[in-house]
């Protein structure tokens, strides 16, 4: 079959040594020799580092001088360098989508270190497959969408409030939606906070005041986002502003920042004394201390000694395995506040590891100086809380530092240092298609490179809905989400990858299977035959105009801006009516044939 392929293509093939990562196991010269006479291959070379400046320049020179119309680099994973080599193509005047990458490192040399000959044969097959696909590539242009100069921020805690102010100051409109009747979230309930000992309530009222000053920010409290339609740059969101009578308004936004925060862990009945009188959680204790009138009392009785039990609901094998990060610092901070109320109150911190990272270390030192005693308990022997015959509480714990003594600490109060858990927001998660991590928090694309973006374009996450954070870190991520939104929205247009699925309306019989397969909600039913895609910079289909030209036949249509090119809809279509640009059926078939060329021959 490959022999029948049109051979007028002029493809450049570059096989990379990757230092020795590839060439130590794969005979790169043999790979070059195997493909250099393939029909359609104009240039075939091996290079020490294709991604190096020298390598890139050599390829650019070849593209220009040899008038190449296709580019293949056989190197590492495309995840690493597809953008690099698309750039090479673009700079040399070649359409970037005429470039394909063959992964002969992760998928070949690294996995077959024990079989050099086999690795070489596999590399040849992989490169042949990619060449076969490249013969069928065609120039593609990025989709360009106009963006709405407004953003939706879900969550009116410290992150959402600060993000709203930042967004407005950049010149973008904001819809700020808070489910509770009041803005402020967790911080809005807090007393003095580290490091400046400013009251959390005061910080929030300052932010709320700033929000009120900005007419660009529309605040909806007691409201929820209930629907989302449209795609990146142009979302239509339904905000239910009141439940009784139900009233929903629609807002047009370009991006959505989710800053829905966290829930405090609620220990189960019996877990570390839960349910016993005098056993409370950290948020409850903070409220008690923040609201004290100078004397620390619980249920009317003075507290003279108390024990904190750390890692309640955090770092639990089989439960929440993550560290909630803020709790060690918060417990040490509240311990200092207690000492300020009455230095005679004896405080015992029963911990597993103290993780007062960064400046929070000062809290730990200060709490100890004030007389708080830290007791490290073994991971496999958590403290036991019990009520004594006298009716008072006693915590039993093993102390490593006194030679693994078992201590019995009589206390008036036990504070469970509870961590953060994800909020239960199933409806919103389903509506926004937010990806969840294993821990139940929302997942970013990449923790370092794309820390606030999600797999859904234009939907960003910030603050503790993403995972446990301090309030400072939450605000920082909120502002990162603002910048990330603004960088697209302020340009007015957004470029989207053209590698999206398309429906052939002549073949489509509307069975609806693709709609169910699409995780992004990008497929809709329309009663029209869609016009064929135009070449050049394109706008998303004007569905309304198409609808006017309807001839009554129901077919599926895929929003180019909404489609992520995952390909999930392609195999479910019983009519084979869907094709994925850049990975068309023909291209994939050619690739398989190329891969199996030797076997077939």
């Amino acid at each position: 079959m490959s022999a029948d392929q049109p051979s007028e293509r002029r493809i450049g093939v570059y096989v990379c040594h990757c230092g020795g990562n590839i060439s130590d196991y794969v005979d790169v010269e043999a790979v070059v020799n195997a493909v250099k006479d393939e029909p359609g291959v104009a240039v075939a070379k091996h290079m020490m580092f294709a991604c190096s400046d020298a390598g890139q320049q050599e390829m650019e020179k070849d593209i220009a001088e040899q008038k190449l119309d296709g580019l293949v680099v056989a190197s590492c994973s495309p995840k690493l360098h597809v953008v690099t080599f698309r750039g090479v193509a673009k700079r040399a005047g070649l359409n970037p989508y005429e470039y394909s990458q063959a992964n002969i490192r992760e998928q070949c040399s690294w996995t077959h270190t024990d079989d050099h000959e086999g690795a070489t044969r596999k590399a040849i097959a992989l490169v042949r497959g990619v060449i076969a696909r490249t013969k069928l590539t065609e120039p593609l242009e990025p989709l360009v969408v106009e963006t709405t100069q407004k953003a939706l921020i879900i969550g009116g805690g410290i992150t959402g409030l600060r993000a709203a102010i930042g967004m407005a100051d950049i010149g973008l409109g904001v819809f700020l939606v808070e489910r509770e009747p009041e803005l402020g979230g967790w911080v809005g309930k807090f007393g003095p906070m580290f490091p400046h000992e400013r009251d959390g309530r005061e910080l929030i009222s300052h932010l709320v005041e700033e929000v009120r000053k900005r007419p660009a920010i529309n605040v909806f409290t007691g409201a929820e986002v209930v629907t989302k339609a449209g795609s990146f740059g142009n979302y239509q969101v339904g905000i239910r502003v009141s439940a009784d009578p139900p009233e929903t308004i629609t807002a047009e936004v370009g991006s959505i920042i989710v800053a829905t925060g966290f829930d405090a862990y609620h220990p189960a009945e019996g877990e570390l004394g839960t349910g016993l009188a005098g056993v409370i959680t950290l948020p409850e204790f903070k409220e008690l201390v923040d609201g004290s009138d100078g004397k620390l009392r619980h249920n009317g009785r003075p507290v003279r000694s108390l024990a904190y039990i750390y890692c309640v609901g955090s770092r639990q094998p089989g439960g929440n395995e993550y560290c909630s990060r803020f709790c060690c610092s918060a417990a040490s901070h509240v311990s200092i506040k207690v000492s300020e109320l009455d230095p005679k109150i004896r405080q015992y911190h029963l911990y597993r590891d103290i993780r007062t990272y960064g400046n929070f270390e000062l809290l730990y030192t200060e709490a100890r100086k004030q007389g708080a005693v830290y007791v490290k308990y073994p991971d496999d022997a958590p403290p036991v809380v019990a009520v004594e015959a006298s009716g008072s509480l006693a915590v039993t714990v093993r102390d490593l530092l006194s030679g693994d003594e078992e201590l019995e600490i009589p206390v008036d109060l036990v504070v469970q240092v509870t961590g953060m858990v994800p909020r239960k927001n199933e409806e919103m998660v389903g509506m926004l298609k937010l990806p969840l991590g294993r821990d139940g928090f929302f997942n970013e694309i990449h923790p370092k490179l794309r820390p606030v973006e999600t797999m859904v374009d234009g939907v960003l996450i910030a603050g503790t809905c993403q995972g446990p954070k301090s309030s400072a870190e939450s605000v920082a991520s909120g502002l990162a989400a603002v910048t990330q939104s603004a960088s697209v929205l302020k340009r007015g247009v957004a470029e989207l990858d053209p590698l999206v699925a398309t429906v052939d309306p002549d073949k489509c019989t509307w069975c609806g299977k693709c709609v169910n397969a699409c995780p992004y909600g990008a497929i809709e039913k329309v009663s029209i035959p869609l016009p064929p895609p135009k070449a050049g910079p394109r706008r998303p289909h004007d569905l309304a105009a198409d609808a006017r030209a309807a001839n009554g036949r129901e077919v599926a249509t895929i929003s180019e801006a909404g489609c992520k090119g995952c390909g999930g809809c392609v195999p479910v279509c019983p009519e084979n009516a869907i094709d994925l640009r850049g990975y068309t059926d023909a291209q994939i078939t050619a690739m398989i044939d190329g891969l199996l060329q030797e076997a077939i021959a």
């Binding site: 003279r304 000694s305 005679k344 004896r346 015992y348 100890r368 100086k369 004030q370 007389g371 708080a372 005693v373 830290y374 007791v375 039993t396 102390d399 530092l401 006194s402 030679g403 693994d404 003594e405 078992e406 201590l407 019995e408 600490i409 009589p410």
Partner: protein, 407 residues
Amino acid sequence: MTARVDRNLYPELQRFGANDISACFNCGVCSAICPLSVDGASFPRRMSRYAQLGLREKLLASPELWSCYGCSECTDSCPTKADPASFMAAARRYAVASYDRTHLAYLLATSRLFAVVFVVALVSLLAAFMYNSHRPVDGSSLAFFEFIPSAVIHNLGIATMAVMGVAALVGVFEMFRRVLRGPAAHGAGPSGAALGGAKATIRKAAIRKAAIRKAADAAFYAVGTESLAQTRFRKDCADAGAAGAANAAETRPWYSQRWFIHFATMWGFLGLLGATMADYGLELLGIKATGTAVPIWYPVRLLGTLAGAALIYGTSVLIVRRLRKSDRSSVHSTTSDWTFLTMLWVAGVTGFALELALYLPSAPAWGYPMFLVHVAVAMALVLLVPFGKFAHVLYRPLALFAIRLRG
């Protein structure tokens, strides 16, 4: 056995002068740097942990408190400035107060006002009691035992010794009860197990010769090697030079090193005690009446003179160092320190003055009052042995004995 945490221990220890120990995070640098904390011992660190947690019985059952000679090298090395040396001293004061059942030691250590009033009152009372039985004397020469009948002084002295002895026995019993039978003996911790071992060793000592030899060795070590010879204080303890000075032991002559000052004070006191006892013995044997003038080379007088000189030298240096805060180990002085040192010094200086007065050509007017002060202070000093800093003479050898026995 679970150790019960007592939230009141820590504030109580603060009353005894453990002011900075809350800063301790139990890193163990103090134990690592301590030249005496070896062979698996972990003081001051573990003692500090007991104090922080409020493990009262564990602390009081720790003979290691008495292993420390207070060189303060740990305080110099402490990364959190928790001053472990001062803590150890405070814990010893606390232990003395806890082993005493009368509460007197507690008040003497925690209230400066009480200590001053009590000591002055005690000395005055003793002096008044003796003066009450004084007889007229002619002023030509000093005759102390004509002035106050020697029987009064001797009987009062014996009574003082008896009272002190009872209190000391009670204290020693209390200490041993805790060290051997306290919760530590049943505890799972290493110290508990070791102490349990010590207890077992003592039991076996009754039936096994080897164990008897071991106990004898421990006793010889505790009383002889460590206490009387000051071997470890001399050889192992880093000498405390000027506060912060490095390697002070090399720059300081032997006669001004800490061990020697203590050595001189201790042997000075023991010498004077011996001379006094011998003098009384000579009277009992009818060889020489107490208070009779004898030549300087007369053995009892010679011993008394030399011992007195040593005592005055030792206590004077100690007082000067505490006043100047010149040594890192004399930066912090407490009521206990001052009470003990002052009484020792006064007893020594008045004793010397009396000897001087006795051999002056004509009797000075201050001779008899000085005599009263000397005897009263000396008796008060003896009476207060189990109640103040002097108690280390009881508890330290015992603790060292227990530790040695433990092996």
